[in-house]
Point group: D2
């Protein structure tokens, strides 16, 4: 029997409808760099889904590239981007933001989220400091939705963050690498809310049904002038941009993006329930497609023989926190097989 | 009748064998970031094709990204990269090299190539200048094979460039966006020669049969330490790296990369012959898949109605130089249709 | 007899009035970072001399630092600075502009100057190119006044450059490392003209009477927001900023800056005349404090025994172009001694 | 009566012997860029004082410039510099390190110092993380001696830090903006120890007797190749470099640097004693020229009328921590006047 794999959510290819369309138009000659009708169609569908007709949309290839290109575009040289100290940009992107010349300022992480209190306190300190001309100025607030811990901001939190940003002239940017999973796990925040409260965000494709690709949405016109040239300069402009448009066009047809996201949430919930039922401790209340479970070390070693999962952190001398991740492609059979092993 | 399109060589998707394999393994769970067996297989095939077992190979997504990441990795901060003033890195990459902090030093272009004489003269001047500590130091020589004008270096030129590089402690790097077309058009230079005389180069996939992707080959061990981390920092690390490995694995099976490259050369030659036969002037002796033709302006306007091609430059008051590009996917039918229109 | 030295114009310390004032206030406790009353006084004097009350003025330490900090501040990331290919920023500043991420675009040098024709032609090409989103956008025009060849722009040339800049939405920036010498050599261009036609420029102190220091003048309000923080970030903010203010305060009292500049021009003229009288060829018509003379090689070797000067370039097999530079501190005795040797 | 000023240690000009020598050689023609005999003499004296004949020494203008240029030179692009979260480079240099492309990694501050335990723990975590190729690699350890809080590392701490650096292949770099004050306050660490245990450090001049200037000492040969060119590229190369050499030549003649440093320590001790005697609370045990005192808020307001000092932080509702700084130039009269007011 082959091993069950639950270590991440970007292990499969893409939704079959995408491959189908790729097969279909493979020999059609397309204009380069995203200036084609398939991209236009995808953009229009995303604008509608966001309920934001003025949105400017660009397709990039991957998450780190997208974060670095967008944040660099939003920041002036004397400005800094603010993140939870667990944010992907500060932890796992090899210094990509700093490589573009910007300091990343960290606030405490509350299960992966920043709190409005911490943000306000930091801003007040900065503006009260009479020597702040020697310090980088706050420019952008980075949040991830859902966070790296699978947690999600409430609608009130989103509103409050935006309010603070408006008050202090900051831009609010959301990293949506797993946006579909976050939105499907929330009982209140919708894509329209994200578009309403964020100046910029991206709709993650790589982890949610696409082969690769992230759709950046700017909810204000000309938020980053000449973004196309900046994409080129950052090596983030795909020659066959229609490949990206095609994927998002499929994903935003008939609500597919959300339909397949819901599968991941459903499968993850079943896994969580199975662990709970057997008396395992859930490490963190994480409503999305990532479940963090406390395993006794010997159990963990035993389980490893037939399932892959991610090491997260040490819990105590005898226990370890591990992560199980589902995706749009996780099947009931795979989950059943896992649950039997627990 | 739909319009014939010859304006560039990256208009189609990919070779059907690639799509076939993608369809086949779409739901296999693969390890991320290129650390999978498909990438390993592709690398091994490329090493063999290069006759360079010690080669270190990485797969990146696009050309500008690859040039910037590799050249940045090869250069020290006080060094410059030398290119023909028509080189892609200085002309059409939106300042990507400079955005990484490096000056690009230009030598005269000889139909897209740099001459050993010019290179030597520049190097001698630099090293003779007693104030050269105020000037960026030569570090890397960038060539494109074939060049942006479709021309190719001879084996002797390649050897001489490498000899100069060794003498002055420079690295020789070749941009192989259209490497297959360049090699198939040469009657002497082979992939093994490229691997022998260049410290680093890339095998272009985007324009030669792949959906996207470039295979960087370092022909010396540890030429750029921690290149994986640099890729991540530059947003050039694809999460589903196996997508890149898969494409090169197919392209380097049964010599497919070169077989399909030859098609582009053959088709281009037919187009050139058709123009010559009708008495048109060939602007530049360009043996690869790009043909530069001098058209009378009114002819050009007429032709535009049924064919797309690229404006290249003004020739004189009444004539214009235009470019016709073929690719691995260009069909005999398309060429025949074009030839009828000439 | 000690050797006569004419190789450059930054060999002496500073005008004695500066040292006198430094001695006088050495133990006065001054506020840091240029936020002191001496700096304010100097700024006010410069504003008056420029006839530009809205000018914002900053004091930096050296020329390369000033060029890099100002040009970086003026440019967007997708923009380039345009210079003659002999401009100091592209030739002798070790890639400082590129190190900040910007491409330097070169136009032909006409005795060190750019021509309006070349500039217009470049701009028209850029804006006519339908693929220019892949190319860095023109943002700043860099000129040096006087140029590296000691030549100066006429008032008409300055006006035309500014007109082009306005038309194409560019900023005009003048490197005034030797501004005093340029202005004293011109029979028409004044400091007020420089302030009228340039968006930004600097008044060179290092080569014109100061120990060190350059006064940056922005002739429009808030041209570079948060420039103070950018200075800090670039390591260009002097803790004891009053040292810079003090020097410019002295130099802009009683017209001292121009009085001492005139000395350099007068001395240089005498040297030129002496060479002409003896039948030597003047290489280039250079009206400022740098004189370029063609010497027969054996004469050059002979002269070297008692005088220092700069090698400029080879003239022909038997002749060499050399440069003699005078400064604010050059004495009649030194010039007489040199003239005797010719 | 004029106000007493104790808010910082860079308020005066320079030691009179420096001005004396500047006056003396003002009209001597000196070779540029630090390639003169005065710089050579200063370097030789510093080498002797460091007991490190192989030391390579460079003179830069200010602290932020020095930190950015040296740390950038020491780091590879994929590496990070580690500092206490109170380090000057992360707090008050406007993102200068990040502007050069490098992430600054913070460890907890223990009264301004990093602990070997924290450093080891961070390093072990990094090297144990199997995904660390996605994270910047530790490259340089930055310490300040004395710290921003006026505290100093013990000899044992220095030795241990270096031992860890050797074990993990890191470079140890000390910011010596106030080095003289730190060394004079230590009863065990000497300049020779700093030179023995640090790969690189700088001897601060700006705050210790010079008008401006910092002497960078590399204790290993060729630690940063082509550092001269990097200085130029960073705008950190002073044209009249002899001005820097002259100052350090004077300061390192007859032990002047340490003699005048001791004055600051002695004066600071008197101030501290006066506060202690009157029953005030000393906030932090800081043995150097900065004294941190807890003042009742109304006392603070009263004192402000006749003395300047720095706000440091809030202590509680009714008390504030303030800083009094002495310098090489602080006089007994000034201290007596202050003590009378307490």
């Amino acid at each position: 029997m082959s091993i069950l794999r639950f270590e991440s959510d970007y292990m499969e290819g893409c939704h079959p409808l995408i491959l189908e369309k790729m097969n279909k138009i493979n020999f059609e000659k397309m204009t380069g760099y995203g200036c084609d009708e398939v991209c236009e169609s995808a953009k229009e569908k995303i604008r509608k889904a966001c309920d934001c007709q003025k949105a400017e949309i660009y397709f990039l290839v991957g998450g780190t590239q997208t974060n670095a290109t967008v944040i660099d575009g939003l920041l002036k040289r004397y400005e800094t981007v603010i993140t939870a100290n667990t944010g992907h940009i500060t932890e796992h992107e090899a210094g990509a933001i700093e490589a573009k010349g910007h300091k990343v300022t960290m606030l405490p992480s509350h299960d992966g989220k920043i709190s409005c209190e911490d943000l306000l306190s930091y801003l007040k300190n900065y503006f009260a400091d009479e020597n702040n001309a020697h310090i980088v100025k706050p420019g952008v607030v980075y949040i991830s939705f859902p966070t790296e811990f699978g947690t999600i901001y409430s609608l009130d939190e989103l509103k409050s963050l935006r309010k603070i940003c408006d008050e202090y002239n900051l831009k609010l940017y959301a990293d949506g690498a797993r946006l579909g999973y976050g939105l499907c796990a929330s009982d209140e925040v919708t894509l329209k809310d994200i578009a309403k409260y964020c100046h910029a965000f991206y709709i993650g494709g790589t982890k949610v049904g696409a082969l690769f690709g992230e759709a950046v949405v700017f909810t204000e016109e000309n938020l980053i002038p000449h973004f196309f040239t900046l994409m080129k300069q950052n090596g983030a402009l795909l020659a066959k941009g229609w490949l990206l448009g095609l994927q998002f066009d499929v994903l935003f047809t008939d609500d597919l993006y959300f339909k397949i996201s819901r599968n991941a949430i459903k499968m993850a919930k079943q896994i969580e329930n199975a662990f709970v039922k057997k008396g395992y401790q859930i490490f963190m209340d994480s409503p999305t497609n990532q479940k963090f479970i406390v395993l006794e070390n010997s159990q963990m070693e035993e389980l490893k023989k037939s399932v892959t999962f991610s090491y997260w952190q040490k819990f105590d001398e005898n226990h370890t926190v591990v992560r199980f991740a589902t995706s749009w492609a996780t099947t009931q059979e795979q989950v059943d097989a896992l649950c039997k092993l627990i």
